[in-house]
Symmetry: C3
């Protein structure tokens, strides 16, 4: 009897303290003006009220797979192991892109159409394995005659069941042997003191320009904060920006409305105007077509 | 002693596992730029930290009761039984519209001014009963001298107390015998192979046009995916769109920038441009004034 | 043995019922289009999955410290004691503004750069004490080489640890003896029946104008609902609006598109157009430069 009591007691403690299921983080290009995201959350809550749901963003520019890949990469590593991310940004909704779940080496799960969304997290967090969602086993019951809202019926439902421990990763479906679909993009490199890279994304709220050049590459080229740099930005074959700027620690290292080069929160080379909008002022865009060249001013 | 222990133990287990209160889902036309929605959530958290709060949307177009009714209807059924929805979209804030709680036959609760917001959920989920909120019993203590923020002081507070089990549905207030206030709108119908309906709403993020014509009506008229259809859209007495289009399963059934007719996630007849904005391109609106006629091309 | 069992049992009950940690409420000018806010939430979830996270708003106009101060003040008191607010709106990111935590007399915590953001909550909730965050003790491990995202590495991390009980308020860092930095602004006053104040903020969703004149001052000047009032709004030395308006209880006291003066949800004197946008129609702004004068029409 006492043994039973103690067992039940520890069971009770462990359920209340450790029985917490995992976190579900949602990303899409659906916006928040209609009920689409709310329906996804409702489906997850029907699976289990224990699931902790958060949003990454639902304002990915429509159909912009690169931006989806980038936003996942920007924040995934800050979340606990076991967090399940859903990302639904897909120009080919319902097309032949396979619905997959990737488990990263960092212990995070990513539920998404396999259209390139996984490119950056696969590179940076490492791929443990990828499974194709078996739609016969992992589809919201009653949704079979709907063709267009995979985000709710397939992705959110499968993610929630994985999150709540209703299915194991193995029960998602068969392994995808050739890994996730990877987008091609210009990687950063250093040659004789000149650093080459591309503009990953615009920091939309402020108009800052974020490149894919890591701090390590700047150090390798001998660039230190306080240096002045020659920066050239090209779109395709056209030069769009060419100036000498300060490489500082913080925006307040330059005057209001002056340009500064700095490391962003991902420790990548970035450009901004202190209390201004660099991208708009200099008409700079982002994506594979936008390249940048940086060199220390001697 | 042992009996007491076991009793306490099961109590403990049941509190930790089943003691979870219900979910509160908020909708409004307040936007998220100020502190109004946050104050509603704070009021709910003061009632009980156990309440799970989610947003439906706070971007209902200002004062658009039809849109509020539509968004509720679009997502309510995906949430668990017992979920309490609050919807505050009301051109007549503080006017004679009664504050009510409707319990649907599906077991969901809807807390709202009774101005037509309940029209569609009442029709689709069924009305178990409607109660008028008794403001003497169910108003945030200390808020009596405030006349304008019913969303926080009356609706959020009452909903949170219902959600947390502080009051039962019966304690909301007296029954409203004549049910919720219902908006009039054009219902879908089929006559000799021609289907008539109206444009419920625009899928704002993508510019798709969603009608109130269900898949069953299309089937009744012999319409199958792969068919080509004659579609005519009118605003009042004016024809705004008249073309022959493909009725497909997925957007990728047509080329980029081509029009497609399809079933949306609610299984209603809808129209889109693959990777484009149908509503903007064709200048189509929504609401009771916008009607649609669909016929299979022989 | 029984004593042990009973002790463990109550421990279990108390963990499951009372072991709930506090609430974390986030505010910023980051917007929700990128992964910045999500990274802050991830950091908090890594500290403890028990933390209940909500947003105040992330749409504070960029660098607008007054708006940040105002939004905090608008909603903080509606949240339970112990709630931890993070507000990151700071034109001088990385500059010499001290990172602080203020505990208010109302038992709320505010984690923010000490740049004036605390002005209104300090005045209205009272200051118990302010501590400077010790960056050596309270910084996200591994973030030392990042210079620009204090919101995540310092503010969210410290707030989450405080929220989860990982650190006590005393462990935040040393006391700041001279209290929070206070912004100067025009306070409301009444002189011979004339009431002077300033326009605190625009109710952005609807274009209503909210002043800092409390209902008590109106009562002192003998103003009652139903009265007609002379209202004059100036920007600097220029008169921008001068009309006679009704002081009503609810918007429906006037016709559609008519101006009404009323008490907002904070019980402050406000102006609106019923189902319209007063600020846009009359070109009225907000902030210290915008003053208002109200007098009862005899």
């Amino acid at each position: 009897m006492r043994v039973l009591l103690v067992t039940l007691l520890f069971l009770s403690i462990s359920i209340s303290v450790f029985g917490q299921t995992n976190i579900l983080v949602l990303q899409s290009d659906f916006g928040l003006k209609d009920g689409a995201v709310a329906a996804m959350k409702g489906v997850a809550m029907k699976v289990s009220k224990q699931i902790i749901i958060h949003d990454l963003t639902h304002d990915i520019p429509p159909y912009d797979i690169w931006a989806a890949a980038y936003r996942l990469d920007q924040s995934a590593s800050f979340w606990p192991r076991g967090t399940v991310f859903v990302s639904v940004v897909d120009p080919g909704v319902g097309s032949s892109r396979k619905p997959v779940v990737m488990k990263s080496k960092s212990g995070h799960y990513f539920v998404t159409p396999d259209n390139g969304t996984l490119t950056l997290v696969a590179e940076h967090l490492g791929v443990e394995s990828v499974r194709v969602i078996d739609e016969h086993l992992n589809r919201l019951p009653g949704s079979e005659s709907s063709y267009t809202f995979h985000g709710r019926d397939l992705f959110a439902y499968t993610a929630a069941r994985l999150c709540a421990g209703e299915i194991s990763f193995e029960k998602v479906g068969p392994l995808l042997s050739d890994g996730p679909h990877m987008l091609k993009y210009q990687k950063p490199l250093e040659e004789r003191g000149v650093i080459y890279g591309s503009i990953d994304i615009l920091d939309v709220q402020y108009g800052n320009v974020w490149t894919n050049i890591p701090s390590a590459l700047l150090e390798k080229a001998g660039v230190r904060t306080g240096d002045t740099l020659q920066v050239e930005i090209t779109e395709g074959d056209s030069v769009r920006y060419k100036e000498v700027v300060l490489y500082g620690n913080t925006f307040s290292d330059v005057q209001k409305h002056e340009v500064i080069a700095y490391l962003n929160s991902l420790l990548n080379f970035s450009m901004a105007i202190n209390q201004g909008d660099f991208a708009r002022a200099k008409r700079i865009g982002s994506g594979p077509a936008w390249k940048i060249r940086v060199k220390r001013q001697e």
